[in-house]
């Protein structure tokens, strides 16, 4: 199909774009800013920079590698980059990643979310590409929508291309935060097939970390149903559940610390709804 070279001019232009703390490895300047990105308007991802990735010629290589940024002072993931080839692809089933709690993480369910859970531990570079399991530098708090609608299609496309051709794909994912937010607003995803110079794979998109029907406080990861106040009295309030004892607590209740992770969930909704589901209020915090 179309053959396009990544031009040095484009790369230099990219360097002129200011960003919010998402510099690529080896670069002083980040790639894009939230101000450059269109607001979410119903599509899980949107093409950026004419769908041309920002890789410079010097960055492009057919030697497989993978790099992950050190967590920043807030514990957030940064840029991840790889030259994905058959050498990096996993040969074993995916392992458990539940031990990682990315910044802004909450275990919270909504009926309007596919699979109920609002948040997934989203691999920045998908497991099917580099076989990374519980790598805290590669997992962010992402909505189900981001994971399945925004990121997975690109991971699938690249994984199948690599498996079919044996070629390499430059693959970079940059989480983009606003200020000190703990949850990313989305991810910049770039892909470029090396051996055929972008003939097979070429894209540059921003995938939105949103969930239709749910509002998110990106500073903390707190969430509530769209159309409800974040902390209205009994309506859309947040509780912590003990799924073993079937008690619900105020998030500030001291007993919350004693709940095992495996039994703890965050719930956004009404008190009445919880009681209807068989939960009873904690006698200590009396939520």
């Amino acid at each position: 199909m179309k053959r396009r070279m990544i031009s040095i001019a484009l790369a230099l232009a990219a360097l002129l774009i200011l960003a919010a703390g998402c510099a690529a490895p080896g670069r002083e300047e980040p790639l894009v800013t939230l101000e450059d990105l269109p607001a979410y308007s119903g599509a899980a991802y949107v093409a950026i920079n004419g769908n041309e990735p920002y890789f410079t010629p010097a960055e492009i290589t057919d030697e497989a590698f993978e790099t992950y940024s050190a967590l920043d002072a807030l514990g957030r993931c940064g840029v991840t980059c790889a030259s994905v080839g058959p050498e990096l692809m996993p040969t074993e089933e995916r392992g458990d990643i539940g031990s990682v709690k990315p910044t802004g993480w909450h275990t919270v369910k909504y009926d309007c979310v596919d699979g109920k859970y609002l948040y997934n531990r989203c691999h920045l570079i998908g497991y099917q590409l580099t076989g990374e399991n519980a790598n805290e530098q590669n997992l962010i708090t992402g909505t189900r929508y981001l994971n399945m609608e925004g990121m997975l299609p690109f991971e699938n496309m690249v994984a199948d291309y690599v498996e079919e051709t044996g070629n390499h794909v430059m693959y970079r994912v940059t989480p983009i935060y606003e200020g000190d937010d703990l949850v990313a607003r989305g991810v910049l995803m770039e892909g470029y097939s090396v051996e055929d110079e972008g003939d097979g794979i070429l894209y540059c998109v921003f995938a939105y970390n949103v969930q239709p029907g749910v509002e998110i406080d990106y500073a903390t990861g707190e969430s509530w149903l769209a159309g409800e106040d974040a902390a209205a009295d009994g309506e859309g309030a947040t509780y912590v559940l003990n799924t073993s004892s079937m008690k619900f607590h105020d998030p500030a209740c001291p007993s919350v610390e004693d709940i095992k992770d495996s039994n703890r969930e965050t719930f956004a909704g009404s008190r009445e709804d919880l009681i209807a589901r068989g939960y009873s209020p904690c006698g200590r915090c009396k939520p």
């Binding site: 179309k2 991802y45 496309m157 199948d160 291309y161 003939d199």
Partner: protein
């Protein structure tokens, strides 16, 4: 070209009826290409230059390549369509073969025929393993 003649179209779709993204096919599989050549055995097989590139030696001497292949294909010919609209040629199609990747890929080009309506009736369906795809489904729609 024989105007008014009927032809067989072959397309590849993801789970959302996507065909391509950013001017590129969504996916490829050597086992699927073998199926395409099987379907076209004894017929002329037309496609665009960008589609022919992926066939390599197995397609040599068997593929008619043209930028305007949909206009040039004649009666009984097969057309392998990855990069363009089919709706303008719908009246010339006697059969449509859909290969489903059973995966979700990025998409900005979609099949522009509604197979749930109109004259189309699914007459055959079979699964087969691909090289890089666990299961590819072939569906045949006939007028």
């Amino acid at each position: 070209m024989e105007r008014g003649s009927r032809m067989i179209a072959i397309v590849c779709l993801d789970d959302r009826d996507g065909m391509g993204f950013n001017g590129r096919r969504q996916s490829r599989d050597v086992r699927l290409r073998e199926k395409v050549l099987e379907i076209a055995a004894g017929r002329r097989l037309w496609m665009a230059p960008c589609s022919a590139d992926q066939f390599g030696p197995e397609g040599e001497g068997r593929i008619c390549v043209s930028a305007s292949f949909l206009e040039e294909a004649g009666s009984g010919d097969c057309v392998f369509v990855e990069d363009r609209a089919l709706a303008p040629f719908a009246e010339r199609l006697e059969q449509l073969v859909v290969f489903r990747w059973n995966r979700v890929y990025p998409g900005d080009r979609y099949l522009d025929l509604d197979l749930a309506k109109g004259p189309w009736r699914k007459t055959e369906e079979q699964d087969f393993p691909g090289k890089s795809h666990e299961r590819i489904t072939m569906e045949v729609y006939t007028r």
